[in-house]
Amino acid sequence: MIVLFAIFLLTLLVISAIAIVRVKNLFVAVMLMGIFSLLMASTFFILDAADVALTEAAIGAGVSTIILLSALALTGEHERFATANRWLPLLVVTITTTTIIYATFDKPRLGDPEAPVHQHVAPWYLQNTPELIDIPNVVTAVLASFRGYDTLGEVFVVLTACIGVLFVLGARPEDAPKPAKQQGLRHHLIPKVVGRLLVPFIVLFGLYVQFHGDFGPGGGFQAGAIIATGIMLYAVLEGETAALKAVPSSLLMAMVAGGAILYGGVGVAAILLGGNFLDYSVLSSNPVDGQHLGILLVELGVGITVCGALLSIFHAFAAREHK
């Protein structure tokens, strides 16, 4: 029954993907990307991946639309050339699709409990999380504790991408002429009022997701994205300068680096206390309490870095716009 939902949503997903590729106006493509992300989040939720769906929701609903639109504002929104030679790519794509579909006939069916994926390490995680870590959300336990190295790596990738954007687009020059026009939404009083009302609630909800991540869907990645969305909403309403006044760029830099350092620092602290790198059990006299403390700090580091990185990227694009 639920499988039928998934099939319906996946069909819509294919339609929207083809529409994204075919449509001429890039602004429309970005709008359809928004729908694509909404469909993706629903599909993830129906396939039992609540944490992933929350991440896709936090990223796809606000951040990615805003970043794509601010890039479009700088480059222009019309695709000028039709595809010149479409037959060769189409041929390649058709052959590859057919090959992949042929290959899937050997895959285990959806939901097969005997599939090789479910035999290896996953049952161990599910069995031992209550005893070793004692938090209900197994995804958070695996993310922050069992596979802490992976997550540390991902945090550094986000940090590197942020540094890359700042290098490529350049920081805002100090003596840049102040934009003469009034920033923010000018003609829209009602959205401004309602939006201003929502900003604190979005940030509050972000904090809830951050600290409730051990018990329900949530964690640092989602919380960072949600809080960044809240501050981006403020920037959209009041103008980018006002948002920079509220969260100055020096603070953003400190957040981006500080979160990553916090994550690494917890690992180093574990070494100094006599354990392995990122082995939180030694952080407290009781190993389970140590795990709780370690996961809390690590998720906090992730949240701070993601929030700072997304906001820095947003400001880097927005600063270009006013030059």
Binding site: K24, I190, V194
Partner: protein, 112 residues
């Protein structure tokens, strides 16, 4: 008693679904932009209220009830605002709400 609550919540859920569906048809079939906004936004609010009320009756007194209330309040704040802002932006950009001038397509031609 619980039977009554179930029946009421089923009626609410079904009528909410019907409202949502009618709104979808309206957004697809109406002739120009402003009528589509009208069809989509009103039924959106009504469908949201009915469906969430139906779920609330099923939830009973729990944390979920508070979350559902929060969802309802925020959806009721944001949806009409978004529709208003959209219609306002379209009006400011020069899309005339005249029944004779149907909404132009991307290249500015009137559509039949």
């Amino acid at each position: 008693m619980s039977m009554m609550i179930d029946i009421v919540s089923w009626i609410l859920l079904l009528s909410g679904g019907a409202f949502v569906f009618i709104g979808g048809i309206g957004a697809l079939r109406m002739p120009n932009f402003y009528t589509r906004v009208h069809a989509a936004s009103l039924t959106d609010s009504m469908g949201t209220i009915l469906i969430l009320a139906g779920i609330m009756l099923q939830a009973g007194w729990s944390l979920a009830l508070i979350k559902l209330l929060a969802i309802l309040v925020f959806l009721l704040l944001t949806c009409p605002t978004a529709s208003y802002a959209l219609a306002n932006a379209a009006l400011l950009s020069g899309l005339k709400p005249d029944a004779k001038t149907l909404s132009p397509d991307d290249k500015g031609r009137p559509t039949p």
